[in-house]
């Protein structure tokens, strides 16, 4: 294992830029915070615990071209793929929860059909995560079996040990990046490694034992508690847009001149039109049905197909919801004995 001084992280980021790779890091944009492409290490705001926007848009952009088409003279149409992504990218300073969302989305985007656009972005990107020293009250990672120092989805994990971080290459991609950093890193001692292994900050917020509660959800599909608990949801979709694992999308065409694009845009099960049939019938007619879908998809349907739950406990949905919906509290309430 390697280590690096806390005040040397800028050098690691500079090395990424010098190697011609794109650098993505948490940044402040006025009152807003997000992961963004940066041109100099000084623009990174690694002190932000959790950016308002999750990492997902670098893999599933808010809007992206699926294909281009050109109307040909004489009535034909020529269809072409969007421009391929050739640029190698490094995300520096992801949080373990955001990194954990990637293997969760991978399962969807490789389920029987490989989604080449998503997979190209995954392939070109190396994720460097930093374990969280002071988790916030809204952090719920331990509610879903993740921790402030979880490695899943990260290629390199930096774990705080006093004035330094241990540098742990988790994957082959991570090893390549560590090799690129070379002498900027020093060898970690056994004592450093032991400190990193013991790193376990306490989470200040209430944690919900979703591992044992989620098994009860299926049987509670019809409980009146859904209506009671979700009455105040206004269906704005903020929770889905800010969720690192929500991946639902719409496909729409946009014309321009003698051609256009077919595009994929984020969508959300919170919207009343999401499942609306052409006939006017809607299988999820009320907001309670749509919120139930949100919970069931993450904690019952997804795990049934793929294993883990589709929630990383980042808590963004709790912080951003305009009416204070708390998905964990709702899981506790709807699974409670009547």
């Amino acid at each position: 294992m390697k280590k690096v001084d806390k005040n040397k992280l800028g050098e690691l980021m500079q090395a990424v830029l010098d190697a011609g790779k794109e650098l993505i890091a948490p940044v402040r944009q006025g009152d807003h915070t997000a992961y963004a492409r940066i041109k100099k290490p000084g623009d990174a705001a690694l002190d932000i615990l959790l950016t308002r926007m999750p990492l997902k848009e670098f893999f599933l952009p808010k809007t992206e071209c699926l294909l281009k088409y050109t109307n040909l003279e004489g009535g034909g149409v020529e269809v072409s793929d969007p421009d391929p992504l050739n640029q190698e990218r490094v995300v520096f300073g992801a949080r373990p929860c955001d990194a954990s969302s990637l293997p969760i989305m991978d399962k969807v985007f490789t389920w029987d059909y490989n989604d080449s656009l998503y997979l190209a972005r995954r392939d070109k990107t190396t994720i460097v995560s930093i374990a969280c020293e002071s988790p916030a009250a809204s952090c719920r990672c331990e509610s879903v079996g993740i921790s402030p120092s979880a490695k899943d989805g990260s290629d390199v994990l930096l774990t705080p040990i006093g004035d330094a971080y241990t540098v742990d290459a988790v994957t082959e991609k991570g090893e390549k990046l560590v090799a690129l950093w070379g002498s900027k890193l020093s060898d970690a001692s056994d004592a450093d490694a032991a400190k990193a292994a013991a790193f376990k900050p306490a989470l200040p917020g209430h944690q919900t034992d979703t591992a044992s509660l989620r098994g009860k959800l299926k049987a509670k599909f019809e409980t009146p508690a859904w209506a009671e608990q979700t009455m105040k949801c206004v269906g704005c979709g903020a929770c889905a847009y800010l969720c690192p694992t929500c991946h639902c999308f719409d496909i729409v065409d946009e014309k321009s001149g003698c051609g256009g694009e077919r595009r994929r845009n984020w969508d959300a099960c919170a919207f009343s039109t999401f499942t609306l049939h052409g006939s006017g019938h809607n299988p999820r007619a009320e907001q309670q049905h749509r919120y139930r879908q949100r919970v069931m998809h993450k904690f019952d349907y997804y795990p049934e197909k793929f294993g883990p739950v589709a929630c990383v406990g980042c808590g963004r949905c709790l912080s951003a919801c305009p009416v204070g919906m708390d998905i964990f509290e709702i899981i506790e309430k709807v699974t409670a004995d009547e």
Binding site: L67, Y69, V77, D267, C269, H297, D300
Partner: protein
Amino acid sequence: MNNANQNIYKPYILRVVETKDETPDVRTLRLKFDNEEEGRAFTFKAGQFAEYSVFGEGECTFCIASSPTRPDFIECSFKLVGKVTAALRDCEVGAVIGFRGPYGNYFPLDMMKGKNLLFVGGGIGLAPLRSLFWNVLDTRADFKDVSILYGARTVSDLVYKDELKEWESRSDVKAVFTVDPGGETPDWTGKVGFVPAVLEQMAPSKENTIVITCGPPIMIKFTVQALEKMGFAPENIVTTLENRMKCGLGKCGRCNIGSVYVCKDGPVFTYDQIKKMPDEF
């Protein structure tokens, strides 16, 4: 599984070679692959669906309404409900259509061999049944008795009118057609009555019989009730479900009923499977 570099959203290019107005608001398009080689390599099974698109307007989901036993073309039938179907309706012979598919599962044809088949359809719900029906007729010796009960609200709402006549005239098919009370015309020679009621009059035997049904939800509901009353087992009643879809690939997260993805686990289900789904139709 597709190669990881291959764009799964890129459609085949098909051309309209024939159009037909089935009813005032249902149209059928007959389509051929622009690239003949792609057309020859393309295969599908009765019951599967596809995403059809007009470039610049968007994609729409329908079943493949033609039979795999007639591979020279693909047909789809659709009702005019919105922007994309309006654009598709305006596609005349020679127009270009994007086509992604085939997607989803299909009717269990192997399991149907050597059995009596009873098709029960309503309205435009005949489209998926028609794919299987022609498949069965084109391999008729594999099956025992083949019957079809088809109904619509009015005479003008019946789809595939020429084919209905052909089926009626065949000696190896028992065909019964009906329209809802009040929907008949003076020269209508078929039945007058709702599909489930006519089904009860027909009193089909449940012995060695598979029922394949598709139609408006209310018709399916009462048809299944009638069948169960006559002793048909839920696992011998097969239907195809519709839901709002976008990707057809299990990715866009739109088509699920409980944990069942209609686009991947369906659209064909036995009534036994449907009974186990949560009530979210």
